[in-house]
Amino acid sequence: MEKPKTITPQDIKDQKIYQDWGLTDFEYNLISNDILHRLPNYTETGLYSGMWSEHCSYKNSKPVLRKFWSDGSRVLQGPGEGAGVLDIGDGQAVVFKAESHNHPSYVEPYEGAATGVGGIIRDIFSMGAKPVASLDSLRFGELTNDKNRFLLDKVVAGIAGYGNCIGVPTVGGEISFDPCYDGNPLVNVMCVGLMDQEDIEAGRASGAGNSIIYVGAKTGRDGINGATFASSQFSTEEESDRSAVQVGDPFMEKLLVDACLEVTHNHKDILVGIQDMGAAGLVSSSAEMADKANSGVDLDLDLVPQREIGMTPYEIMLSESQERMLLCVKAGHEDEILEIFEKHHLDAVVIGHVNDDKQYRLIHHGEVVCDIPTSSLVNDVPEYQHDVVEPERLKNVKEAKVPVISNVNVMVKTIIGQPTIASKESVYRQYDCRVQANTVVQPGSDSGVIRVRGTNKSLAMTTDANGRYIYLNPKLGGQIAVSEAARNIVASGAVPIGITDCLNFGNPDDSESYFEMDQSVEGISKACEKFDTPVIAGNVSLYNETDNKAIYPTPMIGMVGLIEDNQYITKSDFSETGELVYVIGDTNDDFAGSEIQKHLEGQISGKIHFDLEEEFSNQRLILDLIHNHLIESAHDVSEGGIIVSLLESLFENDLGLNGEIDITKAQLFSETQSRYVVSVSQEDRESFEKLAGKKAHLIGVTDDSQQINLRLQDGQYVDDVTTLKTIWKESLSCQMKSKA
C-alpha cells in the first residue's frame, strides 16, 4: 500500500497521481492555480477527487438534469436534499427517492444490493420521515448464463436480508432481462417515507461554534472512494475491485432509524441539521451540510470512531462504511443528543464544530491535514457540456415487422414463460411485504399500496423502466417510461403525484450515449409536466459499460400516487365469474421493442408510436371510472401485450374467459401503449359504456370454465388457464435452477 506521508504535493503533480483518482489535468490545475493558489496535498487531492466525481457532483449530467420539471403545488422539497417531499394533505407529507447501486452489485451482489437498500433508507429518515416502503427495479443479462443467475440470486438475497431485518416492507418493483445487462446489472432501490410536515429536516451545518456529531457504525477501510469507483467504466479483467464495496448491518441501521427519528421529532429545537454519510462518506456529508449554510467546519479526525488502526485522513474521510449519520447540534446541548444515542446502544461523538471562516479544515494527530474553502468542494467543480450526436440507428427508422404466428398456443406459452414476463413470485416471496401492518396491495399487482395509518388515505407506488423503447426512440421512450408508471398508479385507483428517477446510462463522453440521456430526459420531463408529477429527487448512474459495451439507456421511474379515499383502491385481478371484460384503448401493430420481437428476431428494431394526449385522456378515464365505482378491476397492458394482461388478471382467482376480440393473433402480443384491461359488473354495464364511450372494447365475460376462449380476426385461441398459470408461475424458478 502507498504510504501517503511519502507522497508530497509535488509528487502528486509530477506523477499525475490525481489521474488515478479520476481527476483530469484541467481539474487538477483548476484546484491548484485558481482555488488554492498552491499545490493540494494528498488528503486534499483525495477529497476533491471524491467530491468532484460524477456520482457526487453531477458534473456531466447537470446540464441535462436542469431540464427536469420540478414544480407543482404539492412540492415541499424538490431535488437537492436527501430526498424529495410532497404535500399529501392533513399536514402530512410523503418523502421519496431512488438510488442506483449497479457497480457494487456486480462486484459483490449480496452486499451491493443490501447496502443499496440501507443507503436509500438513510436518505429518507435523514429528512425526518419514517421509512414505510421500498421497491426495487432490477435488470440482468439472460438467465441462460451462470453468472447472471448468481447475480439475481444474490441481489435478491441482499435486498431481502437488509429490508426484512430493518423492517421496511418491500411492496413492489420489477425485474427484466436482456443481454445488454450482461456484466452490468442494474440495481435501483426506491424508498418511501411518511412524516408530519412540521418535522421536515434539512442537511445544514450553521452557526459558528455549533457541534458536529458523528453517529453510528465505526469508520473502516471499506468502500474507500467508492464514488470515484462508481464513476468509471468496468473491464472484466479488473472486476475484483472489492475494496470499493461496502458491507451492510441492517440491525445497526434499525437502531439508527429509531434514534434519529426520536431526535428529529422530539428535539427539533436543538438539532440544526442531519444528513447521512453516503457516497464520499464523511467529506460529502460535512462539506455539503456546511456549504448549504454558507459556513465551514473544523473536524478532528482523531475523534472519529475507527474500526481499524492506522487509518489515514484520506481513508477516514472517503470511507463509505455504512450506517453512519452526521448531525449538527446547537452548542451546549450536545449531551442531550448523545444520551439518546447511548440509550439506543449507538456510538455518538462530537468530532468538530462549525467555524466562521468558511474553511474546510481537518486536524489529524494535531496537524492540519486539509485547509481548503468548503464551497470549492461542492460548487467549484467544472460543469461539462457534452456533444450530442444522434446515433445512426435512430435515422430513417422503418416500421417493425408484424410477426407471423403459426401456432398461437405455443407462442402464448413461450411468451408467458419468458423471465421478463413470468411471475416474479419466487423473488418477492423472499421479501417481507407486510411488516408495519399497512400493506393493502402486495407485490404482484400493478402498484404496491400502503394505507396511511390513522387516515382513510393510501399511497400507491411503482417502479418502471423500459430500456428497449428508449433505445429505439429516446424521447418517446422517456415519455413512455413515465406513462407506464402512471398507468400502474392509476390502475390501483391513485392519482399520480410525483416521481423520482435513476438515470442509468453509458459513458457520457460518448456523444451518442449523451444524446440518449438528453433526449430521454426531455421525454420524461414532458410527460411529468403533462401528468403534474414533478421530478422531486433522483440519481444518476453513468458509465454503465463493460468492455466498452453499453447497456440500453435505462432511466428508471419511481412514481408515487395518492388514493384520497380507501374505497377507491382497485386491484388488477378479475374477482368473480360473470364480470364483463373490456380493453380500454385501441390495439395496433406495435412490435418495435416488444417481447415477441426480441424472442423471434433476437434483437429489437423499428418505429415506436406514442401519443401523450391519448395516454393522458385514458388515464383520466380510468380514474373517472374508479371514482364512479364502475369498474371491479383494472390492469395496465405492458410487456407481452394484451394476452399477458388478460391471463394475469385471470390467474389469481382461477377464472376463465369467453369472448371475441377484434384483433389478429399477432396483435395479442402487440405492445400498443395507453391500454388497460378492466372488468365491469353486469349491472354497471350501461353506466360504464356511457362514460367510457368508444375507448372501451367489450371482449368477453369471465366464467368458471378455467379456459380462455377468444375468437380473433384470423382464428380462435383456446387454452387451459390452469396450465398457463403453472408455466407463468414456475418459469422463473425453473430457469434459476436449470443449467444452461
Partner: protein, 221 residues
C-alpha cells in the same frame, strides 16, 4: 386490562402488535423496552417479531439474556398469558419457556406469504374463540421457522394437546406441520405466523382477531 409489548433492539413488529391491541382490541397497551426489570401491573405480555439484536448469533439467542426476560419468566410462572410471535416464538424457545427450536426453512430462503393454519386446540386461553379444527388465513414472514423437537418431546406435545396451530401446506419443513405450541400449563403460546397482521380487512384478513379476543376474554374472566 393492560398489555405489555416488549421491544428489543431490532424488534420490528413491536408497533404492529401495539396497534393490534390498541386499535383492534381497544385495550390499554404499553411498549416496554427490553431493559425493563418490572412487569407488575400488566395482565399479559406480547413478544413481537423482528430481528432482536440482529439475530446474528442465532434467532432469539441473545434476547433471552435481556433484563426483561426475568420478569417474563415470572409472569409465565404466575400463569399470566405470554404470547411470542415469530422472533418472539424463537426467543421463548431459547429462554426454555417453550420446548423445541426453530431452524432455517428447508428452502434456506426467507418466506413471506399468507398461510392456512388449522386450529388444533381451541381449548386454550389464546384460541377459545375459534371453532374446533377451524382453518384460518394468517401471514408468515420468516427465514427460521422450521420447528424442530425430538420424538419424545413431540409425543408429549401431542399427549398434552400442546400443538395449537398446524400449517395446512407446510412452508418451512416444521415437524408435524407445527406452526404454534403452548407450554404444558397452557399460558405461554409461541407461533411463527403473525396474527397481528390479520386484524383488519383492509390488510387482507381478520382471522387473527379471534386470537386477541380469546386472550382478552381470558384476562377479563
Amino acid at each position: 386490562m393492560k398489555f405489555a409489548v416488549i421491544s428489543f433492539p431490532g424488534s420490528n413488529c413491536d408497533m404492529d402488535m401495539y396497534y393490534a391491541v390498541r386499535d383492534s382490541l381497544n385495550e390499554d397497551v404499553d411498549l416496554v423496552t427490553s431493559d425493563a426489570t418490572n412487569l407488575d401491573g400488566y395482565d399479559g405480555v406480547l413478544i413481537p417479531g423482528g430481528f432482536s439484536y440482529g439475530d446474528y448469533l442465532r434467532s432469539g439467542a441473545v434476547a433471552r439474556f435481556a433484563p426483561v426476560m426475568e420478569s417474563v419468566k415470572e409472569m409465565a410462572a404466575e400463569g399470566k398469558p405470554v404470547l411470542g410471535v415469530c422472533n418472539g416464538f424463537q426467543i421463548l424457545t431459547e429462554a426454555n419457556l417453550l420446548p423445541g427450536s426453530l431452524q432455517h426453512n428447508t428452502s434456506m430462503e426467507f418466506i413471506s406469504d399468507w398461510s392456512k393454519l388449522r386450529v388444533q386446540n381451541n381449548d386454550t386461553m389464546f384460541t377459545d374463540q375459534y371453532e374446533e379444527s377451524e382453518v384460518i388465513d394468517i401471514p408468515i414472514a420468516h427465514g427460521e421457522g422450521n420447528y424442530y423437537c425430538d420424538d419424545e418431546t413431540l409425543a408429549q406435545l401431542k399427549a398434552n394437546d400442546q400443538i395449537v396451530f398446524t400449517y395446512e401446506d407446510n412452508p418451512n419443513g416444521s415437524c408435524d406441520n407445527i406452526a404454534g405450541v403452548v407450554n404444558e400449563q397452557g399460558n405461554v403460546l409461541g407461533m411463527m405466523p403473525h396474527p397481528e397482521r390479520a386484524v383488519e380487512s383492509i390488510l387482507g384478513g381478520t382471522d387473527g382477531l379471534k386470537l386477541f379476543k380469546s386472550l382478552l376474554n381470558h384476562v377479563r374472566s
